[in-house]
Symmetry: C2
Subunit: 398 residues, 2 copies
């Protein structure tokens, strides 16, 4: 029979980028295209110990249904932790555990946006979130980034032009894909615009604990006097993505709607992941673990940047992230970025992600691409950057 799909999913087209990513299945390809934590970043011994202890002490709790809001000891611990960071106000707010932070984007959008409502995002931004928003048929409006974050004039123009704006979506720290961090002054200015145009902010902070250089910048959530910030946190980058555990903090009314949406989506987040996250923070030195992660990513980022400094054509610019997993490279204006990425992977066997993947529309113009340093080994970083450098010089000169 012929299938008629909903307008929602018809928005989500198969991507041209998939063709490039298919090459990464080839074991000869060095991939800078992923966003996975480094394999050495997982606390394997602790996970084994915790898992054995959990299943010994209370196996039924791991296996039986839990409540939609999340595993209570973990929720309470996160509330305390986030309150200490000035990101949670027990009086006005609630916290739910989610199946990864991705689910926060879906639940927030589903709870707040009708089809046609405007959602403003950074351009470029994380493709997974953009697709979640698109899957609810919102009017997605991108605002370009400068070195301090969203361009304020462009943001205000977007807010003026779209009085039906429900959410401003921001990844303030070591943004995916650019690696950029929004400054405190810019965060304040964005919050002030959200107040002026009476809209909510969705602050997505999966990499916040992975700052390896520079000064900590307070979350937008810490500025939230009005209850207009929904905060998304994740254990994917600081513990393990395969456990699928994230969380949302927001005013109680909003969380209660998100709970209803989560209940009809997957009932609850898996117990094993939640209990593992709780026990790890309870029994082990989480801060030491974070310090270890920052050490790994600092070394890998510096290694990749040093290689790029040495090998890349001077025509190519790139960001120098203070944390997170990604570097954003920009080729000369008007050049064929897709052609570069395609040659890189098909001829030189180096995979990067074309910047168009992260634009509001894949046809939006960009000459940038994303490189990841967390997943490849040091040897792969060295060799891959050198090879890619040759291609940059071949195509764009010294």
């Amino acid at each position: 029979m012929n299938y008629q799909f909903s307008e929602k999913v018809s928005q989500l087209q198969a991507s041209a980028i998939r063709e490039i990513l298919k090459y990464t299945a080839d074991p000869e390809v060095i991939s800078f295209a992923a966003g996975n934590p480094a394999p050495e970043a997982f606390p394997i011994t602790a996970v084994k110990e915790i898992s054995a202890k959990m299943l010994e002490k209370d196996p039924i709790a791991v296996l039986q249904y839990g409540i939609t809001e999340g595993y209570t000891p973990l929720r309470e611990m996160m509330k305390t932790r986030m309150a200490q960071a000035d990101c949670f106000d027990a009086e006005r707010e609630e916290l739910i555990m989610t199946s990864g932070a991705q689910q926060v984007m879906e639940l927030a959008c589903k709870s707040l946006c009708n089809a046609g409502d405007t959602l403003i995002c950074e351009a470029p931004s994380f493709i997974g979130s953009l697709n979640a928003f698109k899957s609810y048929n919102v009017n997605l409006v991108g605002v370009p980034l400068d070195d301090e974050g969203m361009e304020l004039n462009a943001l205000e123009d977007a807010l003026k032009a779209n009085p039906n704006t429900k959410l401003i979506y921001i990844i303030p720290n070591f943004q995916n894909p650019t690696g950029k961090t929004t400054t405190l002054a810019r965060r304040k200015a964005i919050y002030a615009l959200a107040q002026k145009y009476n809209t909510l902010i969705l602050e997505d902070n999966p990499y916040g604990d992975l700052r390896f250089t520079g000064e900590h910048v307070p979350s937008i959530k810490t500025l939230d006097t009005d209850g207009r910030v929904i905060y998304a946190g994740s254990f994917s980058k600081v513990l393990a993505p395969g456990i699928r555990v994230g969380y949302a903090i927001a005013p109680k009314e909003i969380i209660s709607k998100m709970v209803v949406c989560k209940q009809v989506s997957d009932v609850q987040t898996n117990n094993f992941g939640q209990m593992l996250a709780y026990q790890f923070m309870q029994e082990y030195d989480f801060d030491a673990h974070l310090a270890m992660l920052r050490g790994i990513y600092k070394q890998k980022c510096e290694r990749m940047l040093a290689g790029m400094d040495a090998a890349f054509s001077k025509k190519i610019s790139f960001t120098r992230p203070e944390g997170g997993l990604f570097i954003w490279c920009t080729l000369p204006e008007d050049c064929d970025m897709m052609g570069f990425c395609t040659r890189a992977v098909s001829e030189y066997k180096i995979a990067v992600v074309p910047g168009s993947a992260f634009m509001v529309s894949e046809s939006d113009k960009t000459t940038s691409f994303r490189m990841n340093y967390s997943t490849p080994t040091d040897a792969a970083i060295d060799r891959g950057v050198e090879i890619l450098g040759k291609l940059t010089k071949e195509m764009f000169g010294e």
Copy 2:
């Protein structure tokens, strides 16, 4: 600030039934209101062994990102298993792992239904699925059940009256909440009506492996010559709900849309749960485990029915399920069912779920309520049924 929620979530009202379920937090209350597997149904020793072995052998695989479609060895195993049951055709169909079967309902509805499209369901039906459908603003039309399944005339009337019907949602085996099983003849007739009115069927089969008496009835999926059945399966009732693992089988085109929707919802199902399900079926005797479960539920169901036969007012009728977890009790016509359920829990400390919870609209008339025998202990079944019997006689006579 004042929050404006989407039309989607505004459909989902807080339920009057919640007030009744709140009483179940009282440890003195005997709850027949749950739908949890019996605690003794979990293969705890196997889970411990598998978990230790998995984390010893390949901890990174448990912790790192996996693919959206699901853990490949588990998917392949389920394809083989379901093909043997004539429920999977490798040529035309695909199978994805989901975060519980609940997610199948959400993904199917999101992929196929626009707001206002009609989705036909059994009335009563599983509240979690109905709310998932409502959360996409579909026009939900309930068709009453007789002892063989959906009433065919009512189904055809509904199909005629709603030419925009996208899905017919059915729980064919030991339905939640009624415990009823749709006969083979009725399954064939429903499939024929789906053909005649060119609509899809969403077959939700979480309890299919829990038949403890009577003859196996083939799935509607086995009748599917046209590719019009989406099949939802689950490990929640046959292994453990806390691991959140289910699956969907459907024509490839439909699964590929569901994969896109899953990716933006939670990226992937947690690895631990998927790997546990795989290893359990691979290394242990799954059929013997199912036989053990059927033994537990048979005994509990018979115990509850025998108690009800002895203690309940003869004015009350109830179903005699051949499997699953639920019995559906019906009070005399025009009586105050909510009053009965409220007195049962507040005065007699026995919790059941008012039937209105399972109707398309909570205001739809019903004098039925749902009783669960899988969760309470034998002693609780005996005592609770006796007490409830007293109330039935007090309110409705011998």
